[in-house]
């Protein structure tokens, strides 16, 4: 056991001290925080480009569109369409809006321009004209109906509805949650597992190949048993992966906290959650509208500690178990070949179940209760990823335990198998390897 610890220490330190590790660990959170900040900035910022649109109004409507914010509408009197078209250049108009004579029947207007008109401009024009016409129609009906207060009564019928999702916590506490976020979280985590298995499992494989090709393996194997070396390597590399992941979480969290304190003072998670309307937020928060506030509340609701903890626990278990399982496979491949090019033939069989798991995961995100979800989260090769997608939606305890148990059992089995291949393979240098050969190695007794 002691020797395994020595090996773990060496495998860990030699990788953690590398410049590439430090760079990746520290730059990624900055990058992620940057993207996060950018998204928030995009959310808060409206389109601020100044535009002037020339309007040819052939209808009977008076001022169907009005200048608003950064978009100016200039009504062109007595101008033909051809002349207006020239004005796109001469007057620098962004576009020409033609409101046809029979707009009430045709119910459509046209925007002409050399450039593709943005969605915001298009919908702004559309909604303005619509509101204008609807208001006229309503006023007419109200006037014809001759009912008092009809205007107010109609106004009162407007009922915007938003659906909040609330999950019962284990202690009965009611916390606002978000289905989309839960899905996104589970899926993001499973993708992270996929990435890690490939990034770090491959490192185990490379380490084994390196030891074979520079022949240090002969000396090491005269000091420790092959199994000890394999375990030490797998666990050591796992620690590196965990360290990196933890650093990412901590750094990203720190940057977000510091960043929001600097850029959005007074606006912290609890004040956002408690505010039921915009007016209750400090001034910097006023920039959002109500929809954005609801979304922020949803997001923060999922960041509730208890929820995160339960997901984290599952994540850590499946991360470790899935990684260990695949690392053992990678170790076996590394011991069977002499250099990296020969590993290619084995990469397909190993990556296939993982990629499959990702696809199953996507399907499961839409339907976490079906039989695909069940089998995908039980079968050991796919369960690390698929189960992760299911957890945010809640999984029956017996299914969780079954999956964990199977994963542990298969890990032990695969490690035993890989150790046999490893033991023989590390000494075979220069031999062409095939599945038949490997089968012989497995059956070979010391």
């Amino acid at each position: 056991m002691n020797k395994i610890l020595i090996i773990i220490q060496r495998e860990y330190l030699s990788r953690v001290k590398k410049k590439s590790f430090l760079l990746l660990t520290f730059l990624t959170p900055i990058f992620i925080a940057g993207i996060y900040a950018f998204m928030i900035w995009m959310m808060m910022k409206d389109d601020t480009e100044k535009r002037t649109i020339g309007v040819i109004n052939e209808s009977e409507l008076v001022s169907p569109v009005e200048s608003k914010d950064f978009t100016t509408f200039e009504y062109l009197e007595n101008t033909s369409f051809e002349e207006a078209k020239k004005m796109l250049d001469t007057k620098g108009y962004y576009a020409i809006l033609k409101v046809p004579k029979n707009i009430l029947e045709e119910q459509s207007a046209e925007l002409f321009s050399f450039k593709q008109v943005t969605i915001e401009v298009k919908s702004e024009v559309g909604s303005q004209i619509r509101n204008h016409i609807e208001t006229i129609k309503r006023s007419k009906i109200i006037a014809e109906a001759n009912m008092p207060d009809l205007e107010q009564k109609l106004e009162a019928t407007k009922t915007p509805i938003s659906v909040k999702t609330i999950k019962f916590g284990d202690d009965g506490e009611i916390k606002q949650s978000s289905t989309e976020i839960a899905m996104g979280l589970g899926f993001a985590m499973s993708f992270i597992i996929y990435m890690f298995i490939f990034m770090y499992g491959v490192q185990v494989m490379r380490g084994v190949i390196e030891e074979k090709s520079n022949r240090i393996i002969e000396v090491i194997i005269s000091s420790v048993k092959p199994f000890q070396l394999m375990m030490g390597k797998i666990v050591g590399v796992a620690m590196v992966g965990l360290t990196q992941f933890l650093m990412w979480v901590i750094l990203t969290g720190a940057i977000i906290v510091i960043g929001s304190a600097v850029f959005l003072p007074g606006l912290d998670a609890s004040s956002i959650q408690e505010a039921s309307s915009i007016s209750q937020l400090p001034s910097t928060g006023q920039a959002m509208n109500q929809a954005q506030l609801n979304m922020m509340q949803d997001v923060l609701g999922t960041f509730d500690m208890g929820y995160i903890m339960s997901i984290l626990g599952g994540f850590i278990f499946f991360f470790l178990a899935g990684y260990l399982l695949y690392s053992a496979l990678f170790a076996a491949v590394g011991s069977a070949v002499d250099n990296e090019t020969e590993t290619q033939q084995f990469m397909l069989p190993i990556s296939l179940p993982l990629v499959l798991a990702l696809y199953i995961g996507m399907a499961v995100a839409k339907n976490p209760e079906g039989s695909l979800a069940f089998w995908g989260s039980i079968i050991p090769l796919t369960s690390p990823i698929v189960m992760l997608v299911r957890i945010p939606f809640g999984v029956p305890v017996w299914e969780l335990l079954l999956s964990m148990g199977l994963l542990v059992a298969s890990f032990i089995f695969v490690t035993w198998l890989a150790a046999k291949i490893y033991r023989t393979g590390i000494l075979m240098y220069g031999k062409k390897v095939s599945y038949k050969e490997i089968w012989k190695w497995i059956r070979y007794h010391r």
């Binding site: 020797k3 020595i6 090996i7 060496r10 030699s14 390196e210 030891e211 520079n214 022949r215 240090i216 002969e218 000396v219 090491i220 194997i221 005269s222 000091s223 420790v224 048993k225 000494l427 240098y429 012989k440 010391r446």
Partner: protein, 311 residues
């Protein structure tokens, strides 16, 4: 009781028997040469001693006890194909390897400092192995082999890759280790080194041991009763006076004297030879031609091959 013993080791790989019942016995504080052509089975035997692989049958004893996993701490191994982690620093790596052999980190650090001082290579401590030349790396590897002060040392072709100066240094160190009480098993093709340092040898050929004995005994056994004499005088006169039991194998003439390589048959002794030579010529030099290990090696192998052909 021998310090190290292997009894009747049999090892088979798929379709090929590497060792067919090989036994060796090594006394403490001696240098044992394990010789043999390529593919004879030497490396397999060495791997079994190092517990890298196990015998199909036969027993191995280390200091009287059957070979156990803990014994690796007392064995040092310098393999024929050797290497180190390229990107790891020299000092750190040596300590790591010593720890895997059961040494404590502190102990390893101290001893390593002493060795580096002795070889005057302290400035290499923090260098990565890839920054060293091949010869330097070999030196480091040698140190890592002996750092944990093993009682049994196994060297497989230790001199390969060393320039003459470093080879000499290595030879000195090996002898020093032997004098301190280390038991050394030493496999090589370099017969010159065998001449210089082996106390005992075994020759393995086609998975079997075909020669085993102390260095002196073997030399004696393979004496060919060949002598070299150099003289000043009349060659023909001498030839006329030599008995028929004295066979002339070779003749060489130089500016200063004549030389003859003679084989003494039928029990003719060296004194007999001298008594036949001295009356007729002025003797300049006289010595027995003792066969080199190289010659013995070739002779034994060829004899064995011949007998195998007849089987």
């Amino acid at each position: 009781m021998a310090f190290f013993e292997a009894k009747n080791i049999v090892k088979q790989y798929a379709g090929h028997t590497a060792l067919k019942g090989v036994s060796i016995s090594v006394s403490e504080g001696s240098i044992f040469g394990l010789l043999g052509p390529n593919g004879a089975g030497k490396t397999t035997l060495i791997r079994i001693i190092n517990q890298i692989t196990g015998p199909d049958s036969g027993e191995v004893f280390f200091n009287g006890e059957p070979l156990k996993p803990e014994h690796v701490h007392h064995i040092g191994y310098l393999p024929e194909e050797r290497g180190l982690y390229k990107k790891m620093k020299v000092g750190e790596q040596s300590i790591y390897l010593a720890q895997l052999k059961g040494m404590s980190k502190q102990d390893a650090n101290e001893k390593l400092q002493a060795w580096f001082k002795k070889f005057d290579i302290l400035e290499w401590w923090d260098k990565k192995v890839e920054e060293l030349s091949k010869g330097m790396a070999q030196k480091i590897q040698f140190i890592t082999t002996i750092l944990h002060e093993p009682k049994l040392l196994i060297f497989d072709e230790p001199f390969s890759g060393f320039d003459p100066i470093n080879a000499n240094l290595l030879k000195k160190e090996i002898l020093e280790l032997r004098d301190k009480g280390c038991t050394i098993i030493f496999s090589t093709h370099n017969m010159g080194s065998v001449e210089e340092i082996c106390d005992h040898i075994a020759l393995i050929h086609k998975s079997e041991k075909i020669l085993d004995g102390s260095f002196e005994d073997i030399k004696k056994e393979y004496r060919t009763n060949t002598y070299n004499i150099s003289f000043n005088g009349d060659l023909e006169k001498l030839k006329a006076n030599l008995s028929n039991d004295i066979e002339i194998l070779e003749h060489q003439a130089s500016k200063e004297f004549e030389s003859l390589k003679l084989k003494l048959n039928n029990g003719t002794s060296s004194n007999d030879l001298l008594s036949q030579v001295l009356p007729h010529v002025e003797l300049v030099a006289f010595n027995e031609i003792i066969p080199s290990m190289n010659d013995i090696f070739i002779r034994v192998i060829e004899e064995k091959n011949l007998s195998l052909d007849f089987e």
